[in-house]
């Protein structure tokens, strides 16, 4: 299974070394924000891998949960150990289709992306709106959306229930460039 997976990844990579329609970033930014009257919690991940296939309008994102950096070390520890269990589920992924991808231009427009978000071992279909623009070398996407912790089976102990919002705001900024080795 592992070998098969690696093989497909290699195939995937090989296929877009000579195709100009693939756009990629390894340094995308995804952050999340939880707002409650007691405290605000914020974390940022600057090592987001995201790939857009301009010929089909499909996109795929993968992130490492341990790459989320918090202001407070204790929050980061709780996040990894108790909430998202990043030892068990080290990654979160998103695979989706960009709706009306043909409408993309060099000026900013809002497009919907429909796909599956997998995190903490749970998968949920979501639709995200993203402000996008495309030139020959760059596809830029920014936006934000909300996720419910209960959809991903993230349990918050009752002691800190008032400190963590059930709805989490996720923001992203992805600056894809044409892939060249």
């Amino acid at each position: 299974m592992k070998i098969l997976y690696t093989f497909f990844v290699c195939l995937f990579l090989v296929s877009f070394t000579n195709a100009q329609e693939r756009f990629l970033t390894k340094k995308g930014m995804i952050s999340f924000f939880s707002e409650t009257p007691i405290e605000n919690i914020e974390a940022q991940n600057n090592q987001v891998l995201s790939i857009v296939d301009a010929s089909s309008g499909k996109m795929a994102i993968a992130i490492l949960m341990k790459s989320f950096m918090f202001k407070k070390a204790l929050m980061q520890e709780h996040f990894n150990e108790n909430y998202v269990e990043s030892d068990k589920f080290p990654k979160a992924t998103f695979k989706g289709d960009i709706m009306d991808f043909d409408n993309i231009t060099t000026s900013e427009i809002t497009l919907a992306i429909k796909g599956n978000l997998t995190m903490h071992g749970k998968t949920k279909e979501i639709t995200i709106e993203a402000v996008t623009k495309k030139t020959d070398e760059v596809i830029e996407m920014t936006g934000n959306f909300f996720i419910n912790l209960s959809d991903f089976d993230v349990k918050i102990p009752s002691v800190v229930k008032n400190n963590i919002s059930e709805k989490i705001k996720v923001s992203f900024r992805l600056y894809h460039k044409t892939y060249k080795k």
């Binding site: 340094k27 993968a62 490492l64 341990k66 070390a73 030892d87």
Partner: protein, 138 residues
Amino acid sequence: MKKISIYILIIGLIGVCIGYKMYNKPHINVAEKPVDIALTATILLADFSSNETSANAKYLDKIIAVKGMVTTIEFDGEKAAISLQTKDDFGSVVCYLTKEEFKKSTEIKEGQEVVLKGICTGFLMDVILVKCIIMNSK
């Protein structure tokens, strides 16, 4: 009776202090921590690409000193990412420097051999190390 309430107050105060200290616990200072594992970029990537699950168990959250040749240095504002060459054509080891270390990154040139120390967060296309510091650069 009065004595007891004073004791309770003192214990309570100590509790609050400890709680507050824990709440404000500082982040790991990579520079001060001893190295858990020292190896080359090629071996590190090979371990992840051959068996990611066992490599995750072995390397995640560990302080790693990785040696390799610099292929690219990319800057983005106050962030710098150094990619190290491996024998693998597709993947590499990418080390993200701390803000403090950012100033030193100008001393490093492409093609140079370096040892970088940081925390491993996992493997996407590349093995990723964060909060890196430059240990030596000849």
